[in-house]
Amino acid sequence: MADPSAPETMNRRKAIRNMTMVLGSASSIPALSGLSAEALFAQGQSIHQHVSAKGEPNPSALKVFTPHQNQTVIVLSELIIPQTMTPGAKAAKVNAFIDIFLSSVNASKRQEFLEGLQWIDIRSNQLFRAPFVRATAEQQTELLTRLSVPNSTETTSGQNFFKLIKGLTVFGYYTSKVGIEEELKFNGWVEYKGCTHSEHQS
């Protein structure tokens, strides 16, 4: 973050403050010449924050998952995208995203996912005599490895479920605030400079 007292930052804040004061109806958008791309971006973000911030979904307000299903998805997603130097899927509340996602798709897609989740518990019981959330970390990793290797001998529906939850976890993580800000370290849009290589000029 920029130094709050630096002149550039003060100018940017002033620009934002002025914009927020003046903006009323569509007709009163004032001239914007002279603002740098950085300042424009910051101003745009601040204007949009108050309309857009819906925040992370409240995990206690589950729409589809039972508490057990929710816990299983938390464990699965954290194995897929774990905490490393940066937070993982659990901190990013990927489970809540998947829950909301499932509430928006049709019944057969929802059923497919929930049956896949059930399959995980059945398989875990077969292998480890425990449902997935109560297997050890090594056992959980072993089951996912069995599902994800190229020559997997697990059933097709098990492999397909793994692909499904992996895709949803990746999507849910990299569209979350945690994923975008802390893992990708996204810090604003940059001017598209394109190709700057002399060997490509024509």
Binding site: Q43, S104, Y192
Partner: protein
């Protein structure tokens, strides 16, 4: 408002309505701008800076909600979870088609119209386009040529601010350009290789776009946040809200009335003039009448014709201003929906950072000097070459895209790696005007405000299909010549349904002969002298270029003529 007679009533506030309002107020007229839909508040309605985590389904949309309320609009590439409120509710705005001829009527209904969500691509016509009907013996000749419109292209482009690169091509005249946006490495290589193989006949150029690359008339240069279709608080691309409306309001002579659904035009048979419009208030459903000395109908191609058809009276039984009988006919759209995409190996060391709200363009190269193809007219390509999986450059993952193998910390690491380069080309082709492509009123169906709806009959015919079939093969060939691998063509066997190109035009065409056209060369009704129509309905042929800049040029020219005529007492 009930008794005031405005100098001009402009119906519709989209691309052309905004221009009409600006030109007429700047020339001293007191203007009432009617918009069927709601006003737009950038603070609430723009969403271009929203992050995926700011919307409930991260951009995937509430599928059931969209299927129920936006079954047609959701088929538009620009209709998203972030901005579906900028598209019409299909339940409130129905239309019908024959069962075997689908039509996609994609649009919004609010101040600014599609100028908020449009693609912003801007390409001039040349005489190759203006003289095509005459040369081919198809439909009717245009009553103007490029030299009539050239100064107006200059005029509107200067105000709008168009970025692009001069290429000196006769079939795509250069405009008044701000500096061009940058091409990616893949695109530059493609430009080299296509240029070498076809020696200047085929040119890969950066898209010409109504997005500022430099500060311009109080609007800021683009800062590349990406989804223009969701709004632009920095006013960097052209829309009514960003440009023409503030200019009109600055004159002090504009009255904007949103929620004003025009049921029909008020016709005075003694003077054979329109005197105003019957308006249904969009919120209260109350009826009111507005009066004006002249009317500029800019409600968009199909909506303007719908108003005229719904304004039929004893003198104009087939629709107001329709003594020719062609009103409603010769509906056109661009062929769309096919092309090719491929991987572009060998560029792994080159980055592709950031979002660019623009692609490349390959201007038409068929039938430039006489007929050298199996079809009449021609097509251009839009497309681009970028690097996928570049999350650090802020691309969004898409559900279902292929992922690195495995899971865990190694997957997280692999996700940080940029993916491979790819390239794709998608064709936009000209369609031949055909009398069978038409709109009529469906008297058994009304919209939410009680206005009779449209019945749209449109299909593709032989020339269209022949051209369409070539597009994907030519796209594939050009990708191969560029050095791409794993080239795959895309597109159904028939072009996408008419309307999908979102360049619908015609149905109130201009021409010299009042027996075969609705408008004269000034966009003025042959029948009713104080009625002007300047949205896409005036088009007599379709070209293959994105048409909005052409509509803007004709609108400014028509407004200039109308004011001159009004001052002379001729209207």
């Amino acid at each position: 408002m009930a008794t005031k007679t405005y100098d001009a009533i402009v119906i519709g506030s989209g691309i052309t309505g905004g221009w009409a309002a600006k030109e007429l107020t700047e020339k001293g007229l007191d203007v009432l701008l009617l918009e069927a839909g709601k006003n737009i508040d950038p603070n609430k309605d723009y969403s271009e800076h929203q992050m995926p985590y700011d919307v409930k389904y991260r951009g995937l949309t509430d599928v059931k909600f969209m299927e129920e309320n936006y079954p047609i609009q959701r088929q538009c590439y620009a209709c998203r979870e972030y901005n579906h409120h900028l598209f019409v509710n299909d339940k409130e705005n129905p239309y019908t088609t024959p069962a075997d001829k689908p039509y996609l009527f994609l649009r919004g209904r609010h101040v600014g119209g599609r100028s908020i969500m449009w693609g912003r691509q801007v390409y001039r016509w040349s005489d190759l386009d203006f003289l095509a009907n005459e040369k081919d013996g198809v439909a009717i000749p245009w009553p103007v040529t490029y030299k009539d419109i050239e100064p107006w292209y200059d005029y509107v482009e200067t105000f709008v601010g168009i970025s692009g690169m001069k290429e000196g091509l006769p079939q795509l005249p250069d405009g008044r350009f701000l500096k061009p946006m940058a091409m990616s490495c893949g695109e530059r290589i493609m430009r080299q290789k296509i240029g070498e193989k076809w020696r200047g006949q085929r040119v890969v150029t950066i898209g010409r776009t109504a997005i500022l690359t430099e500060d311009h008339k109080g609007r800021a240069a683009c800062h590349y946040c990406g989804p223009c279709e969701q709004g632009c608080i920095t006013r960097s691309y052209f829309s009514t809200l960003n440009s023409t409306l503030p200019a009109a309001q600055a004159t002090g002579r504009l009255t904007l009335r949103p929620h004003s659904v025009v049921r029909g035009l008020i016709y005075d048979k003694d003077s054979n003039r329109v005197t105003g419009a019957y308006v249904v208030d969009g919120v209260s459903k109350q009826e009111l009448e507005v009066k004006g000395k002249i009317v500029f109908l800019c409600a968009s191609t199909l909506e303007s014709t719908r108003i005229l058809l719904n304004s039929a009276n004893p003198r104009y039984a087939n629709g107001l201003a329709n003594s020719s009988g062609v009103l409603g006919h010769y509906l056109m759209d661009h062929l769309y929906g096919s092309g090719a995409s491929a991987e572009y190996p060998g560029l792994e060391e080159y980055p592709d950072l950031g979002r660019r709200p623009n692609g490349i363009y390959i201007p038409r190269f068929q039938n430039l000097k006489g007929k050298d193809a199996k079809y009449l007219r021609g097509y251009g390509f839009q497309g681009g070459s970028h690097r996928a999986g570049y999350l650090g450059g802020f691309q969004l993952p898409s559900l279902g895209s292929s992922l690195p193998a495995g899971f865990g910390a190694s997957l997280k690491e692999a996700m940080k790696e940029p993916g491979g380069w790819s390239m794709s080309l998608s064709g936009f082709g000209e369609c031949i005007p055909d009398i069978r492509n038409k709109v009529e009123i469906n008297k058994n169906l009304t919209d939410k405000w009680g206005i009779p709806a449209l019945h749209i009959t449109a299909d593709w015919y032989e020339n269209d299909q022949t051209m369409y079939d070539e597009i994907r093969d030519v796209a594939a060939e050009m990708l191969e010549v560029s050095g791409c691998k794993n080239v795959r063509t895309f597109g159904e066997s028939k072009p996408a349904p008419p309307g999908k190109g979102i360049h619908e035009m015609g149905t109130a065409r201009m021409g010299n002969d009042p027996k075969t056209s609705v408008l004269n060369k000034w966009n003025q009704s042959h029948d009713i002298k104080n009625l002007f129509i300047t949205d896409g309905s005036f088009m007599t042929s379709s070209g293959c270029q994105n048409p909005s800049i052409t509509y803007m040029a004709f609108t400014a020219r028509a407004a200039d003529y109308a004011v001159e005529q009004l001052k002379k007492g001729n209207l």
